[in-house]
Amino acid sequence: MKHLMTSRALLLASAIALAPAAYAETPADTLVVAAAIDDIISLDPAQSFEFSGNDVNNNTYDRLVDFDPLDLDKGFQPSLAESWEVAEDGLSITFTMREGVTFHSGNPVRAEDAAWSLQRAVKLDKTPAFILTQFGFTADNVEEKISFDGDKLTLTLDKPYAPSFVLNCLTANIASVVDKETVMSHAEGDDMGNTWLNTNEAGSGAFELAAWQPNQAVQFTAYEGYWQGAPEMKRVVVRNVAESSAQRLLLEKGDIDAARNLTPTDVDSLGDVDGLKIKDEPRGRILYMGLSQKDELLSNPAVVEAMKYLVDYQGITDSFLKGMFMTHQAFLPKGYLGALEDQPWTYDVAKAKQILTDAGIEGGTITTKVRDLREYVDVAQALQASMAEAGLTLNIEMMTGAQVLDAYRAREVPIFLGEWGPDYSDPNTNAATFAYNPDNSDEAMATGLLAWRNSYAVPEAMNEATVAATLEQDGDKRAQMYQDIQRQYQAEAPIVPLFQRIENTGLQENVQNWNSGGSVTSVIYRQVTKGE
């Protein structure tokens, strides 16, 4: 009976054993990136507020001021604005536009476009709008507060803010300059082109958006008319690859140039592979522990103090968070103006016990909700173990990120473990949420403030100091003010910054000048080159 199947089996076998296709490296003028990009909802700079959306916009649009991808530490630099002048009274800033810059459509970039872009963002009032409206702009007054005349653009502020504060905010994605003519030709009703821009682009950046297939890929082509010179990479393809091990395989096979979501295990094993390298960059996200002051036990200052000594900072960053996070105990991330690198706490169970005994606390039980992300669950379990040693019982309920967020915004998470990412590159972005909470009542519904979510009544003096720091005209003094606030915060606040995120990018050896955006901005491709 051997005649039963042979011919068909052979046919199938030959189909499976298809001649191996040849896989060479990626083309010399193409940058291929694997990343998890399924968080993109919108590509409209007035609306986009997700990491991957900002990664796209940072390359397709320019802003009045931008970061230098080869040296982020220089801070904001002239971009579409060639120069600016702050009025004596500090109440207005006038920008002079760079000449001869054109949008991808060929239209010239005018002060009118820049003014309209900012006005549009304020009027549309999508989530990131607060980055601009905090300077006193409203839908009603924005046309007079943001005005243009020839090549001059003037912002009129409601208070004499620190110029660095305003300019840092103008590096944010929401301040991207969009092509008014092109966008308005696609407007539907009074949406100012929002629907169209959600999936299209009208910028002047180094790259044009060639295609966006949600959950699949984003493709860019070089803008040959870019004012700083056309980028060397003529094509950038960002493929959605969610799995770290798949990213690693693609990198090892030479099918991609950069892998952005590698787990520490994969980073470790890639470190030894010839022809590949790992680039570490501190990012802006802070992993912190929020101790809700609604919880009876946690509202005791002694418990808050003890908790700071119950985190095994060294042990955690040497084991399961290795390469992903570094210990950082202040709310401004490294890389920010006024960042504080003091580390007042160490892992010390005996000390924690002593603090609790001195306060007459005999133990207690806390039940909290933790997002089902490996990093957070691991930290929670480490905390559970060390709290047990100090006589405190921690029960952990794991749930999805959306569920935890809902509960957190409703002030119902006793111990929150999670990350906060800065919204813009100015220290106020974190100070205003960690160290500012003017009304701690439930009715205030200040769901955006971390202090409110943890029911932390920020002392009046600290609220005032946070506001004062936004008005300080002198840069050095301003940095000093933030350091003072953070020291006081470390001494008394029930929100405890623990770690700062590090991003590891796996790269082919020949990829030069990769920049994920450090702690202050998003990824930038225009300076990337590929050697031999």
Binding site: R8, A15, A21, V32, S245, A246
Partner: protein, 360 residues
């Protein structure tokens, strides 16, 4: 049902014109009955999905406006999404839009649901079809041989193959497959539907890259797409193979122990003729059902396979949308999956008539 039964039984006497008219009438009634039950099934499916989606403890508004939104922005989005309306009005509104061909906009991709589905469904269809082909062309012969040589070596091998297929976690097999066939041997393409150089090079007609590249006469693009699809398709094929081969074997065993087989053997027919021409023809009908069901379940999309192979298919799309509370997308996906199942059912019904000699 009653109609077709009686129609089947009433035989021989020449049909009068009135009988023919009555028969046509019955067929029409049958057809409209099918369409009605189809519509009701879909409606019920949508209703259940809709309710589950709305009672889930996930806030779709937060997904849209993000964590940093002010209460005013949140409220504006809440109203814009129609969530302030009672559930039944929301549902009725949705059905009305669907009937006019508008599936709404997905909040997690920002695109029209219909466009999303046009993009993700072909990816799944291509994978599921190839997977089912592999499952059928390997699984059926394997099952037949296993039954014919019951207890023999091939039967034992088939048993092990099926057992492994049932019990191995797909993500493990997928990663191992990638590691071995892509990472080490380099026989197949990596994650994704195409290599990056072919991305967007083939004009999209059907959305099925294998078909599109053939239509365009682009042989290298076809080879590339095939080298990407073969591994995930084999993986899915393996799982349906495990099921199909076991079912085939048990169907065959039942037939082979029947008296007509003994008769055929006594008549001196070759074993090949006994197995393929007599026994196998009789299991064709239940087998079609098994294959259709397994194809249907592959059409839902296999989430883990899609994630491991970065395959932008329906499974990932629906799962991700569900987790984001993106009901337009979930309901759109549900319609596609539901319709596929119903269509497959109709198709296998049709095949019964072709395969069943009694229905001629």
């Amino acid at each position: 049902m009653a109609h077709s039964d009686s129609g089947g039984r009433s035989q021989s006497p020449p049909l009068s014109n009135a009988d023919r008219r009555a028969a046509r009438h019955r067929r029409l009634r049958n057809l409209s009955g099918t369409v009605l039950s189809l519509a009701l099934t879909l409606l019920g499916l949508l209703l259940v999905t809709f309710i589950i989606g709305r009672v889930m403890p996930i806030d779709p508004v937060l997904k849209v406006v993000g964590d940093r939104a002010t209460q005013a922005q949140y409220d504006a989005a809440y109203r814009a999404m129609g969530l302030d309306q009672p559930l039944y009005i929301q549902f009725a509104g949705y059905i009305r839009d669907v009937l006019s061909g508008d599936f709404g906009r997905s909040i997690s991709t920002g695109q029209m649901v219909i466009d999303d589905i046009k993009r993700v469904f072909p990816a799944t269809l291509e994978l599921a079809t190839l997977g089912t082909f592999i499952g059928v062309f390997v699984g059926v012969p394997l099952g037949v041989i296993a039954a014919a040589r019951r207890g023999g070596l091939i039967d034992q091998i088939a048993r092990v193959v099926a057992l492994v297929g049932y019990s191995m976690p797909i993500f493990w097999l997928g990663l191992m497959g990638l590691l071995v066939f892509y990472g080490i041997l380099g026989w197949v393409g990596g994650p994704g539907r195409q290599s990056i150089i072919y991305d967007g090079m083939v004009p999209s007609v059907t959305g099925l890259i294998l078909v599109d590249s053939l239509l365009a006469g682009d042989w290298p693009a076809f080879k590339d797409a095939f080298s990407h699809i073969i591994l995930p398709a084999s993986l899915l094929g393996y799982f349906s193979l495990a099921y199909i081969s076991r079912m085939t074997r048990s169907f065959m065993l039942e037939q082979l122990s029947a008296e007509y087989i003994t008769t055929a053997r006594v008549k001196g027919l070759s074993e090949r003729a006994v197995i393929w021409r007599h026994a196998f023809r009789n299991i064709a009908i239940p087998l079609v059902t098994v294959i259709a069901l397994s194809f249907g379940s592959l059409l839902e999309g296999s989430v883990l396979t899609e994630i491991i192979f970065s395959w932008p298919g329906l499974g990932q799309y629906i799962t991700k949308s569900l987790l984001a509370g993106d009901m337009n997308a979930v309901l759109g996906g549900t319609i596609v999956v539901g319709t596929s199942f119903i269509a497959l059912n109709l198709l296998s019904d049709l095949l019964y008539r072709v395969l069943d000699p009694r229905s001629k």
